[in-house]
Amino acid sequence: MSSKPSPVIHLEDVHRTYVMGRESVHALAGVTLSFFAGDFWAIMGASGSGKSTLLNLLGCLDRPSSGQYLFEDEDVGSKDDDGLSELRLRRIGFIFQSFHLIPQLSVRENIELPLYYQGLPAQESARQAEALAERVGLQDRLSHRPTELSGGQQQRVAIARALANQPRVLLADEPTGNLDSQTSAQIMEFLAELNQQGVTIVMVTHEDDIAEYAHARLHMRDGLVDRLEQGHA
């Protein structure tokens, strides 16, 4: 791991506690970690280990119950809902297991979505969407509906959408969970390629062969970082 002066993401003793009735569930029970620009992490762990909670937190969809989360030295915990939205809009890209494309929008419009919320003029955002589609190899599918595409193509559209805001970090939640092994390999190779181009990636997966593509693994267990494995690939 290359040591750079300040990490993109830094968690310091982060807890996330859900109150369910009278019981408190400690989904995260004191996590400390740092991710740096150019990293490619795989977060692994059994279901209930807290890996999804961690990803939601990293993606600024949630705030820590206690502890500190610094995203590029900004304190995420102190931000309000609009502040979190702004972080997601400008600096974070998401891809999901079930792609989460908006079915009534075309490929082009799906890719344009973050640009639309950024307030980009239509012409500029159309131009960028075309470039992004080309980057994921779907330039001839721009006016298709997501349902007219294969699973692998849909995930490519989702990746193009996630890249639209040139994110500091790309968060992937089981990106190959809904794909066959051949398509999975293609998608993972594409992600690896993006990482080589400098995109920071944090991916949740429970499959070892998928985690192979990452440079480092973080194993979660009972809401805690169990162990780190560095220096793959």
């Binding site: 939601n56 969809l61 949630d62 609009d82 702004e86 997601r88 400008r90 009534q104 919320y117």
Partner: protein, 421 residues
């Protein structure tokens, strides 16, 4: 750029609505019917009101109309068959009114009878009005040809007659009516002028009708006498009525009611058995306005309820839509959409829905009164005000009933929303 985004948002709203065409259409129906019924009902109400007001206005709001009316106790069949009825207003009444009240500027007496008119082989039932030149000042009907009665006609007791448009057309059937001769009963008269039709349907309160012809009062008395014999079904009706009608002109509107009360008190003294009736157009006008107000309130309530139902329908569907699109909302939030942007999206969708409904409603609302006018021959008036109001109401419904679903959408937890199936 801001306005441009609104256009884009509206496009998105339309797109989402087109996705469920039938559902959107059914949702709209509530607003469509609400708006259409508001406009149509207001148009019918306004039309009826305008007609009533027009007729009353034509009488002038500074006049009082006295009519002879057969007293109730004399109208048994036996008496009608055998006796001559003597009742009603007299010449003396007229001069007494004119001289007693300083607020009265003019009085116009009239004798009226039904008589057959003939010209060659053509016959027509006419309402013959014997009156004075002032009649034409007080009853506002444009002169189409020739002239009206003049004081000289009165002095000369000239056998001249002013015709209504339809009488001239049907009885004389000539391009040039003036100068032609026609028979009224046994008498021959010369037509000197033609008045425009009275217009509209008939009514008790009317001063004039489309079958009217006007002759000098003196001539009426000379040629037809004071005793009128009317043949009605089965019985001969013999009546002695000096004047059938007196129009009293008052100097100012503010004196009308007080003068009317004075006249009534006076007539009651000289006609203890009654035999006359009094119409005050001003009072009728006020009454018509009050009726219209009540009508509008009832109408407004009905329209309000139907629009409320329409709005609730929209809210219901939007809530269902929010549930159905929970995942979409989660995705948008994850990508970085702020709460107010989600609110905006759903609100615009509802406003588009209700506005399109409103627009269709307005089109239907404009067509219905036209059909009513064409097939039921009722006057209708679609006012600009009712259109603006309908448009405003449908937009407001969109905002009011869209706000709650939109806020619900915006307040969804993005993590939960993404997980939603």
């Amino acid at each position: 750029m801001r306005s441009f985004r609104v256009v884009r948002d509206i496009e998105l709203g339309l797109k989402n609505l087109r996705l469920h065409k039938l559902r959107s259409f059914l949702t709209m129906l509530g607003v469509v019917f609400g708006v259409a019924s508001v406009i149509a009902m207001l148009a019918v109400g306004e039309g009826a009101n305008q007609e009533a007001l027009e007729q009353i206005r034509r009488l002038g709001s500074n006049v009082i109309i006295l009519r002879s009316e057969k007293p109730v106790e004399e109208t048994t069949a036996a008496q009608r068959a055998s006796f001559m009825s003597v009742y009603g207003l007299t010449y003396e009444d007229e001069s007494r009114i004119r001289e007693t009240f300083s607020t009265v500027t003019r009085t116009v007496p009239a004798r009226i009878m039904r008589q057959e008119g003939r010209s060659g082989a053509r016959r027509m039932d006419l309402r013959v009005v014997g009156t004075t030149p002032d009649w034409f000042d007080l009853v506002d009907r444009p002169l189409l040809a020739g002239r009206v009665l003049k004081p000289r006609d009165m002095d000369l007791a000239a056998p001249v007659v002013v015709l209504s448009e339809s009488v001239a057309r049907r009885l004389l059937a000539a391009d040039e009516a003036t100068g032609q001769k026609l028979r009224i009963g046994p008498q021959v008269f010369e037509a000197i002028g033609v008045l425009e039709g009275a217009g509209g349907g008939g009514g008790d309160q009317r001063l004039d009708s489309d079958a009217d012809i006007y002759i000098p009062l003196h001539v009426f008395r000379e040629r037809f006498g004071e005793i009128l014999v009317q043949r009605t079904t089965g019985a001969r009706q013999v009546e002695l009525v000096e004047l059938h009608q007196i129009i009293v002109e008052v100097d100012h509107i503010s004196n009308v009611e007080q003068t009317a009360a004075g006249i009534e008190a006076m007539l009651n003294r000289f006609h203890p058995r009654g035999g006359y009736a009094m119409d005050i157009p001003l009072a009728l006008l006020r009454q018509a306005e009050a009726t219209q107000r009540t009508f509008n309130i009832v109408l407004g309530s009905i329209a309000g309820i139907s629009l409320l139902v329409g709005g609730i329908g929209i809210m219901n569907i939007m809530l269902a839509s929010v549930t159905e699109r929970t995942r979409e909302i989660g995705v948008r939030r994850a990508i970085g959409a702020r709460r107010h942007q989600i609110i905006r999206q759903f609100l615009i969708e509802t406003i588009v829905l209700s506005s399109v409904g409103g627009l269709i409603g307005i089109l239907i609302g404009i067509s219905i009164p036209r059909l009513i006018t064409r097939f039921a021959d009722m006057p209708t008036i679609v006012t600009t005000f009712s259109l603006i109001m309908a448009a405003g109401i449908s937009m407001t419904i969109g905002i009011v009933f869209g706000l709650y679903p939109a806020m619900r959408a915006a307040n969804l937890d993005p993590i939960e929303a993404l997980r939603h199936e």
